[in-house]
Amino acid sequence: MHNFLNLFKGEMQRMIKYKILQISFVVTLLWLVIMFLIGADYVGDFVPLFIFMDASMMTVLLVGANLFFEKQENTLKTMLITPSSYYAILASKFIASVYLALQSAILISLFAYILFDVSVNFPLLVLFVVVITFAHTAIGFTFTVFVREFTGLLAFMIFYMFLFAFPSIFYFLGIFGDAFEYILMFSPTHGSLLMIDYAYGVEVSWYLLLIANTYLVMLGIGLIHFVVSPKYVETAVRE
């Protein structure tokens, strides 16, 4: 526990020093500017999308970039020769990532509520953002342990967006029909979007919500256990 707190403090310190926290904050500000541009009539439709983008795609990108920096600087390796357990190291990264996503979600939702009267089930939003960020942090880790170059990480991101994010967005924009919904449930982004929507009062059937939550939690655990863990040391030690 002692080491976990120190590891977490270290993660937060590096988020500031590497300007990841600041970048995340700027992105949040951009969402706020876009909210103003959209205007009060439609902003309620877009707020869930902004929070979804932050908790999913931004998380993958920021986690991937952060881990990639560490890989380049060989600090992953030196962490493995400290008394900190591997799981404490990973957990500190997860919590830091959740912190980032929550910071954005809270700011966006508060702003939308105060200025545009967009109401939200706040405790549910927080819970869902934690679940979504957990799964997408695991996805970010997974990408990073497989790539050697930063461009590889970007390629994975683009592939992921085309395969998972865009179909969900198209579905919500009505471009894809309802029949696609069950196929889309295999997409982590689709479940994420459903959850955020539900927190914002959109009607979502309870079983889809249950499937989405269970799927994201299981996906996160599965990726950590079966993909990230076996590859982490290899990634850390590779020079």
Binding site: G10, Q13, Y18, T78, S85, V233, E239
Partner: protein, 288 residues
């Protein structure tokens, strides 16, 4: 002889994608208070062996006993007792040198005074500069400080003077010697024979994953040297050379006459250098 810190028995390791074993059944002991050098060309298996001994690689065959107990039975507390100096810099480049050391230090129970260590390697004045602004030599010195943060009893050092100028290499070598004098044990992997010559009590040469020679530097020099004395002397405005067998030198009339009658310029025994031994036993040239 002191007690054994490590007993390595028939150690074998194969990389997941490798067709051949990177380490092929090597055995050696490391004793408390000694500086043990594992020497060999790139790709010979030195770093792999060190990664196994520092528990970075866990799926090995054979046995490693650390202080009387199988290494596999140690949990992460093992790392409280050892320091590792890596071949490449291992720091967060956007943190200062001091911030880096503070972060790593707080992960251990035992903590050395960071500023004293930074001062020892000449980095105290640069402690508040970002590591990204450090030269490679400064980063390597910071690596060494990193290895000493937890007051270790055992140091693993991989090419620790790599990239350092002679003055800074001297600082590190003196610090290693002091560490040994205070009872510490050092496991050094290197291909720099100068370091070995100055520091190591015993060395093992590794070639293609196998240990081909293990002994003290002195004994190796005697073993691989020629048992002869080479004399350079000045005669008829020329420098001439004569060689005499070392055995029975005191009764060698020709040698004694030379000493008596000629102007001797140099006398050398035929002991060889570690560089030459390295080339002979590993079949590789030594990097400068």
């Amino acid at each position: 002889m002191s007690k054994k810190v490590f007993e390595v028995k028939d150690l074998r390791y194969r990389y997941r994608k490798g067709n051949v074993e990177a380490v092929r059944g090597i055995s050696f002991d490391v004793y408390e208070g000694e500086i043990f050098g594992l020497l060999g060309p790139s790709g010979a298996g030195k770093s792999t062996t060190q990664k196994i001994m520092t528990k970075l690689f866990k799926e090995y065959a054979g046995e490693i006993v650390y202080l009387g107990k199988d290494l596999k039975q140690y949990d992460n507390q093992y790392f409280e007792t050892l320091g590792v100096g890596f071949e490449l810099p291992v720091h967060f480049s956007k943190l200062t040198g001091l911030e880096n050391m503070k972060f790593f230090s707080q992960l251990y129970k035992e903590r050395a005074d960071i500023e004293t260590l930074l001062d020892m390697v000449g980095l105290l004045d640069d402690k508040d500069r970002m590591v990204a602004q450090y030269s490679k030599g400064m980063k390597m010195r910071l690596n060494f400080v990193r290895a000493l943060l937890n007051k270790p009893k055992l140091l693993f050092l991989d090419e620790v003077t790599n990239g350092l100028d002679p003055k800074n290499a001297r600082i590190i070598k003196d610090a290693i010697r002091r560490f040994k004098e205070e009872g510490g044990t050092v496991f050094l992997t290197t291909h720099l024979m100068n370091d070995v010559e100055e520091l190591c009590d015993r060395v093992a040469f590794i070639r293609q994953g196998e240990i081909v020679e293990i002994s003290t530097p002195r004994d190796l020099k005697i073993k691989y040297g020629e048992r002869e004395v080479r004399v350079e002397y000045y005669n008829n405005n020329q420098t001439k050379e004569a060689k005499f067998p070392l055995d029975g030198l005191g009764e060698n009339k020709e040698f004694l006459a030379l000493l008596e009658e000629e102007t001797i310029e140099t006398i050398h025994s035929g002991e060889t250098t570690l560089d030459q031994i390295f080339i002979e036993v590993t079949g590789e040239k030594v990097d400068a």
